[in-house]
Every structure is written in structure tokens, then in C-alpha cells.
């Protein structure tokens, strides 16, 4: 161990190596497609005026020909007539459209580099059943290849959540920019992830399904464990409160696990429940009512069937099933394509998400578009990957639409943001002009002309 550290120290102190890394970085990022000056992977801050653009604000009317002014990382002004300060860099966006950066509200991006067979690169699931104190923000890798690959399609913010056990840990909302986790963080500790116990007939690989009654029994046992754990946390909270009021009481021993649950049992922060079927979603709602929680559903195949209960408790849905097959053979073939339109009709608050662990988060726009092919309006489809996830994640004051004062996460395209043939021409995150390069463009440049 010691030897390793010494070697590392020696290497780091070796100045020419740093130079090499710098040169290598420059070489690898020299392929910016839109703008040769954008060579640094972290992009470049500045005052930018995107002019003559079609501005799809999402929150308000689309401006057919206008300007977005970016200053100090924020949208300083937006409109048909915006005065551009002297010295601002002008970007002529004639024929182009400006959209807010897309938000995927349920991914494991950054927690897993290569999911199958490369365990060393995977940090999605902690061991054990109850891990409320595990925090995604401490494991999201800012230098994952997925960061750049995802953002160049126009997804600029994601929720990254852990997955293991019953209580998986706490999810983070991050921008797809930054050299450190702190730089990425929008909401470093956003919500608690609970894999809500469900009735599952799965009996193990190669094993026959278990009896329904047995499946119910197993679900009930796991649910009771969860209830107990929440009660334990509530007791822990009461002991702590009592001690705060009366220091003559014995000082409580800090328990990081139960401590982590306190903001959730007090309803200060949202609990994200993974649940798909109607009966499981209704089970979640019951649990939310019992414990007076702030809840969000992740998954939500049949959320539209439980819309009454969800709406009554203000529980929004992050829908992750566009690229899944209907569970039952006799479900309509478009059952899961159509679910978002049914949620919209039922007046549910929802977002569309890939639910992906990283590589395919860039499918977000196509997934939203597919929902529009099967009943959702195009306008709602766009909102379901911009403003709605921002609202669900409680960051709509900063992100999700193009409004003065919001963070300048913007995408400039040559067409409809959700269409698979549309090209991103410029990308801004935190008001920085970001190069449109990634591991994929780098490999393309290396091999495209090989004879």
C-alpha cells in the first residue's frame, strides 16, 4: 500500500508527465465539430448572445425569431428584442432552434461505467437491504465517458440513483458538467430511493414461479421490515428531539443509517419509490399516507390506473418504460408507449425517463418522441423531458425552461429536439459553451479515414 502511494506521489510530482497529459487532453479534444475554439472538455464561460433563433421556451410561447443572452452562467434575457451588451460573443442561430437542456429524472449515470463483467466500474448497489446513508453523489464519476456522450445529444441534467436492496440510498441531481462532484451537483442529496416490496412470482433462475400466496407472504414480510425501519427512525428522531430540549437526558448515540432517514420521515425531502403495477403503486400510496411522506414513483407502468390515489397525495411519476415490452402477452402492443398519454389525460404530473444506467440515457429524446407517436401531444412530450422533470425534482426555479434568471443549460439544434435525425449545433451547461466531443467522436476521428 505504502509503495503504491509513494509511486503515485513521485509520478504526480514529475512535471513532464503533467505536460504530457495536457497535450494528450488537447489532442483528444481537438475535434470540436461546431467550433474549433472549444477544445476544453469543461467548455468555456463567457457572455453569449444566441441570435436570430427560434426559441422554444417550453414554459411560454415559442419565439419565432429572437435572442437568448447568457451572462454569468445564467439566462440574462430572452425575447424578440433583447439588447446585446458590447463584447458579447454573438452566435448566429438563423434556421436553428434553442431548447432548454433535457433532464432525465431516473438514471444511474456515473455510478456504472460497464455494467456487465466489469464489477470494478460498478457502484450502483450497496450490499445489504437498508442503506439510507449511501449517497450517489459520493460515487458519481465526473469523468465517466457517459457524461460527454450523453450531453452532446442535449441531455444536460440527470438524477442518478442507487438501486440495491429495499432502501437503496440517496439520489443526486447533477449537471453533466464538472471536474468534481460538487461542480456537477444541482441537488447533491435529493431523495431516498426505496424499492417498494412487490408481489413477485419469480422463483429464481431456472426455477418454476412460486405460488401466489407465497409471493404475497414474502412481500408482506419485506414490507413489515420497511415499516419497522421507518418506525425505528421515527423513534430515533424523537429521542434526539427530546435530548435537544432537555440535555439532562442521556445523549443519543449517532446512527448514520437512521440519521439519514430523518429528513424523509419528516416529509422534508422526497422518497422515490420504484413501482410498476397498479397494486404496487397503490401500496406505495398507502405507505406514503401512513408515514406522511413526500413521494415520487419511479417506473410507473400502470400509474395511470392509480391516478386518483396519486393525485390525492401529490405523487408525481417518473416513467421509465418506453423501451420495455408489455408484461402480459395480451396487453395491447403499444401498452407502454401509450401510458404517458394516459397519465396526461388523467392529469397526473409525470416525466419521461430512460431509467438507464448510463450508455443509453442519450435515448431520452427518442423515448419522449415515441410517446408522442402513441397519443401524447408533441408539446407534452417535450415538457416531459424538460419542465416536468425539473418540477418533479424541485429545480424548476433553475432549470427546465428558457426564462430569464434560470441556469443557462441550453441546446441549439437544427430541428425538432426529439427527432433522431436532429443535430445539436451548440451546447451550454451553466452558461459555458461545451465542445460537442465525446469518446465516440474521438474514436470516429481516429478511424474514419483509415484505408
Amino acid at each position: 500500500m505504502y509503495a503504491w502511494k509513494t509511486t503515485l506521489k513521485t509520478l504526480c510530482a514529475f512535471a513532464p508527465l503533467r505536460l504530457c497529459v495536457l497535450i494528450l487532453t488537447l489532442a483528444l479534444t481537438a475535434f470540436a465539430q461546431n467550433d474549433g475554439s472549444e477544445q476544453n472538455v469543461l467548455g468555456r464561460a463567457g457572455t453569449f448572445a444566441i441570435q436570430n433563433a427560434r426559441i422554444v421556451t417550453v414554459s411560454g410561447a415559442t419565439i419565432e425569431n429572437g435572442t437568448v443572452l447568457i451572462e454569468n452562467g445564467k439566462i440574462a434575457a430572452v425575447g424578440a428584442n433583447v439588447s446585446v451588451p458590447a463584447g458579447a460573443e454573438k452566435i448566429d442561430a438563423k434556421g436553428l432552434s434553442v431548447y432548454p437542456g433535457m433532464i432525465d429524472a431516473a438514471t444511474n449515470l456515473g455510478l456504472s461505467e460497464i455494467s456487465l463483467g466489469v464489477n470494478a466500474s460498478v457502484d450502483v448497489a450497496e450490499t445489504g437491504e437498508m442503506n439510507p446513508n449511501a449517497k450517489a453523489i459520493t460515487a458519481v464519476n465526473p469523468h465517466s465517458a457517459h457524461v460527454n456522450i450523453t450531453r452532446v445529444i442535449g441531455v444536460t441534467t440527470v438524477l442518478s440513483f442507487p438501486t440495491g436492496g429495499t432502501i437503496a440510498g440517496q439520489a443526486a441531481v447533477v449537471n453533466l458538467w464538472g471536474a468534481t462532484q460538487a461542480e456537477m451537483a444541482v441537488v447533491p442529496v435529493y431523495g431516498l430511493v426505496v424499492n417498494f416490496p412487490r408481489i413477485a412470482a419469480f422463483g429464481g433462475f431456472g426455477q418454476p414461479p412460486i405460488e401466489f400466496s407465497e409471493a404475497v407472504k414474502r412481500r408482506d414480510a419485506r414490507l413489515e421490515e420497511l415499516r419497522k425501519y421507518f418506525r425505528q427512525a421515527a423513534d430515533y428522531g424523537r429521542v434526539k428531539d427530546a435530548y435537544e430540549k432537555d440535555k439532562t437526558l442521556p445523549a443519543p448515540v449517532t446512527d448514520l443509517w437512521l440519521e439519514a432517514l430523518l429528513p424523509y420521515i419528516r416529509g422534508e425531502k422526497p422518497v422515490l419509490f420504484t413501482a410498476e403495477r397498479e397494486r404496487d403503486i397503490r401500496g406505495v400510496v398507502k405507505f406514503i399516507e401512513e408515514n406522511k411522506l413526500k413521494g415520487v414513483i419511479i417506473g410507473g407502468q400502470e400509474a395511470w390506473k392509480a391516478a386518483d390515489a396519486l393525485k390525492k397525495n401529490n405523487v408525481p411519476v417518473v416513467y421509465t418504460n418506453i423501451y420495455n415490452l408489455p408484461v402480459r402477452d395480451d396487453d395491447p402492443y403499444d401498452y407502454l408507449f401509450e401510458a404517458p398519454s394516459k397519465m396526461a389525460q388523467a392529469g397526473l404530473k409525470f416525466a419521461i425517463s430512460t431509467g438507464d444506467d448510463g450508455p443509453n440515457v442519450r435515448e431520452l429524446p427518442v423515448q419522449a418522441g415515441l410517446a408522442a407517436a402513441y397519443g401524447l401531444s408533441k408539446d407534452e412530450a417535450l415538457k416531459s423531458v424538460t419542465l416536468y422533470p425539473a418540477q418533479i425534482l424541485g429545480i424548476a426555479d433553475k432549470l427546465g425552461s428558457i426564462e430569464a434568471g434560470k441556469t443557462a443549460n441550453l441546446v441549439v439544434t437544427d430541428g425538432d429536439l426529439l427527432e433522431p435525425r436532429t443535430n445539436v449545433k451548440y451546447l451550454f451547461i451553466n452558461g459555458r459553451l461545451i465542445p460537442l466531443t465525446s469518446r465516440h467522436t474521438e474514436l470516429y476521428e481516429q478511424f474514419k479515414d483509415r484505408k
Binding site: S213, D330, Y333, G358, L370
Partner: protein, 459 residues
């Protein structure tokens, strides 16, 4: 006697069928006023397609159909060739005979399930034809079957009778069983490395060459005792004789090239590299040999050997002159291959028609069925999809999918049937036998046929 009566009954019922009464060549369908994406000769606006006897008879404006012909008004709609998926495991009851490293004696034709709901869902995504492959557990896997998705027809109607036979090979992580370690009471299966995979293939072809020689000698009268028939080596002899197409799963550039070198060594051509996620690194070597590549559009990163995959793969290969197709390898992805094809326009600027060919004509070429399907041209099978919008738009969905002039998917009819199906389901659920409470629930079906599908998910 009974048999004769049966035969006569079948004959009579056949004579009374509408098709026979109308006369074979009178069976006409006319698609009117569509935007036709031919995948061969460009885009034709406001165009009619006349179908006779399951074949495309005429393409043009203001075509006339016989009285009684079915007329489909496609005004404002798009018609494309039926999508051909060059890598699928749909409708297979078993995918991997993973016990040996060489299983060329197995045949996917023996495990077709014509009632797999994946067929209908694929039709609803515009897929009409699929290359049903053995899995990738073995360096040399089983024989493939190329089918049309004739949902509702008996299983023998599915395979395309004149499609050239083929076989599955596999390289890399799957045949070396990276993700399937031996169980505690098992010894690991050879091969365990890429070295072993190559030697497994070389050894099989050495044995096949010797076997072929033993038969050649016998047939030439050089030996008097006929050799023992070897079901494992027979298909490999067909490969050596150029009669069987090799479809090889593989990811890394080096292993793909090493297979091509083995093929050079034994004098055969590899028909397709399946997946070929790093094929772009060796595009000239692939192009030189006339080998096709069947890829994912932009699916990547799920395992180490998929980490250097890039969505520009199609563009680089296409520019090098390789015949490229885009496949699904998945019942789910299969439903949206049109969007996967659309993406290659963005990544590297493949022209629209060339991108469309990657899910139609090019796949047909790779499978040796391009004379009958894959594009909208006179004389070809009427395997067509009517879309509500351009199939490369995310807002597009198939409205009608037909095979040989017959409609196998009709969205409006599907929607019409839903209320009745839902009612039937509710009535069934109310039956005593299906009533469930926590103590006396009905038994669940013991096992679904799909349970046999093991590592298909690992690609």
C-alpha cells in the same frame, strides 16, 4: 379410406376458398397515392402500388385495379419495404445449446414457436422478415432459419423456402463463457480465451476438411466403405463448398479480423459479422472480402467488448463499401428499427435511402433473399409497411404491415378489438377458478416457454 375422404374434403374446401374462386391472378391489392420509399430507386410521391398474387405488379400513377380488388387509400402516408431484422431470437423456444463449443448439428427450425407474441409486436413495428439465429454461447453454434412473420399461419409457412441456409458462429466474451462461470460441480467448458475460440473454429474446419475428403474419396471410388455420416461436420462441409452462409457474432476488431483470416485459410467467405461493434476499425479489411456487417445503430457500453462501439460504425463501414444492416437482437428493439436506421443519418451523414436500406435491402442481400424482398420493385414480394409519417420520424408508427400482399397487422383493427378483449379478460378473471385471495390462489402456469431463453439478453 378415411385418408382419402380427408384429402377430398381438403381439396373441395380449397376449391371453394375465395382466392381460388377469384382466380390466382385476380387477387389484387391497390395501395393508392402514397409517398413510396422504394429503398432502391428513390422516393416516389403520389404513387400507387398494384399487388397481384402477393407480388408487386406495377408501381406508378393512377393505376387501375380489377373489380373487387382491395384498395388502400394511403394519401398523406408513407410506404416502405417491410423491415428485415438480420439478427433475431424471436419465436424461438430455445436459443443456446451451450453444452458444447461446436453445435452445428442443432437447427433453429426445430424450435419455432409461431404463437410467440413477439411476432405480432414486431409486425406492429413494421418488421416482416427475420434471421432467426442460434445464440452466441458457442464458437460454432446452430443452423439459422430465415422467416417471414406470417402471424396466425401454421409454423411451416414461416420459413422462406428459397433462403440460403446459414449458421451462427460466435467470438469473444460469450463463447469463452465470461459471464457464465462453471457451477461448483462442473468443470469449465473449453474454450476459455479468445485463443481457444479461434482454435475451436480451426479444429472444426480441419475435421470438416478431412471428413469432406473421406466422402470425396469414397465417391471417386478411391475407398470402398462409405464414411459414417457426421451431423456436426455436414454443415461445415457446406460452408467449405460455399453453400451455407456464416453469420458470426463478434465485437472486437482483432477477433473479427482473425475469423476472416481463418475463412481465408479454409477458402470460404464470411457472409456477415453480427454486431461487429468495432468493425469500423477494420473497414478496409472487411470490404476487401465482401463480408457484410450487421450492427446495432447506437446500442453500446453494456460490457467491456462493447465499450469501443460508436454510433458512427455504420457510416464508416458504408463509406468503405461494406454492405451494412442494422439489427435488433431483441424483441423490444425490433419494434423501432426504423428509428435506429434514422440515427445513422445523423452519425456520419449516411444518405436517407442508404440508411433505409440498412433495415431492408441490405439485410436481404446479406441473407441472400434480395431477389424476392427488401425493396419496392416490380416482381418482388409485396412485403410493405404503411406509415402515418416518414418512418425516420420519431412520430411515425406503422398503420398496416403486409407480407406478400396479405395484411398481418392493422392498427385500426387492433384498436377496434381492444374493448372486446378487455371484456373477455374481465369475465375470465371473475370465474371461480381465477378468484384469488391470500390463502387459496390459483396455481400459476408452471413455466412459460420463454423461460428457456438464457443468454439472449447478453447479445
Amino acid at each position: 379410406m378415411k385418408r382419402v375422404v380427408c384429402f377430398l374434403l381438403i381439396l373441395v374446401s380449397g376449391l371453394l376458398s375465395p382466392a381460388f374462386l377469384l382466380g390466382q391472378d385476380k387477387r389484387e391489392v391497390l395501395i393508392r397515392n402514397a409517398t413510396v420509399l422504394t429503398a432502391a430507386k428513390g422516393v416516389l410521391e403520389n404513387t400507387d402500388i398494384l399487388i397481384q398474387n402477393g407480388k408487386i405488379a406495377k408501381i406508378g400513377k393512377n393505376l387501375k385495379a380489377a373489380a373487387g380488388a382491395e384498395v388502400i387509400d394511403a394519401t398523406g402516408k408513407f410506404v416502405s419495404p417491410g423491415i428485415i431484422d438480420c439478427h433475431s431470437h424471436s419465436m424461438l423456444d430455445a436459443i443456446n445449446e451451450g453444452t458444447f463449443a461446436v453445435t452445428s448439428m442443432t437447427n433453429m427450425r426445430d424450435v419455432l414457436n409461431p404463437k410467440d407474441i413477439a411476432i405480432y409486436r414486431a409486425l406492429a413495428g413494421g418488421v416482416t422478415t427475420a434471421n432467426l439465429l442460434h445464440g452466441s454461447a458457442n464458437a460454432i453454434g446452430g443452423l439459422n432459419t430465415v422467416v417471414k412473420f406470417k402471424w396466425g399461419k401454421p409454423v411451416e409457412d414461416f420459413p422462406i423456402p428459397d433462403a440460403p441456409p446459414g449458421i451462427k458462429f460466435a467470438l469473444g466474451e460469450n463463447p469463452k463463457r465470461t459471464h457464465f462461470p462453471a457451477l461448483p460441480n462442473q468443470s469449465p467448458r473449453y474454450p476459455r480465451t479468445r485463443m481457444g475460440v479461434m482454435e475451436t473454429i480451426r479444429d472444426a474446419f480441419v475435421r470438416a476438411r478431412d471428413y469432406k475428403k473421406s466422402w470425396d474419396d469414397y465417391r471417386a471410388g478411391k475407398t470402398r466403405i462409405p464414411p459414417r455420416k457426421d451431423l456436426e461436420l455436414e454443415p461445415l462441409v457446406e460452408i467449405l463448398e460455399g453453400k451455407r452462409l456464416v453469420h458470426s457474432h463478434g465485437y472486437r476488431a482483432d477477433e473479427l479480423l482473425n475469423l476472416l483470416l481463418i475463412a481465408d485459410e479454409f477458402g470460404f467467405r464470411v457472409a456477415t459479422l453480427q454486431h461487429g461493434l468495432e468493425a469500423y476499425k477494420i473497414a478496409p479489411e472487411i470490404a476487401k472480402r465482401g463480408t457484410g456487417v450487421s450492427i446495432f445503430s447506437d446500442y453500446w457500453g453494456y460490457k467491456l467488448e462493447a465499450y469501443d462501439s460508436i454510433p458512427y460504425n455504420a457510416a464508416i463501414l458504408w463509406k468503405a463499401g461494406v454492405v451494412v444492416s442494422i439489427n435488433s437482437d431483441s424483441d423490444e428493439r425490433m419494434r423501432r428499427l426504423n428509428l435506429d436506421a434514422a440515427k445513422v443519418e445523423k452519425y456520419g451523414g449516411v444518405p436517407e435511402e442508404e440508411a433505409l436500406k440498412m433495415i431492408t435491402l441490405n439485410a436481404a442481400k446479406q441473407l441472400g433473399i434480395d431477389k424476392r424482398t427488401g425493396s419496392i420493385e416490380v416482381g418482388k414480394d409485396a412485403d410493405l409497411v404503411v406509415w402515418n409519417a416518414h418512418p425516420f420520424s420519431v412520430y411515425a408508427r406503422p398503420e398496416l404491415t403486409m407480407i406478400e400482399g396479405e395484411v398481418y397487422f392493422d392498427r385500426s383493427k387492433d384498436i377496434e378489438r381492444r374493448a372486446a378483449l378487455e371484456k373477455e379478460r374481465q369475465e375470465l378473471e371473475k370465474l371461480d377458478v381465477n378468484k384469488s385471495n391470500n390463502t387459496t390462489a390459483p396455481r400459476l402456469p408452471s413455466e412459460k416457454r420463454q423461460a428457456e431463453r438464457d443468454d439472449a439478453e447478453y447479445h
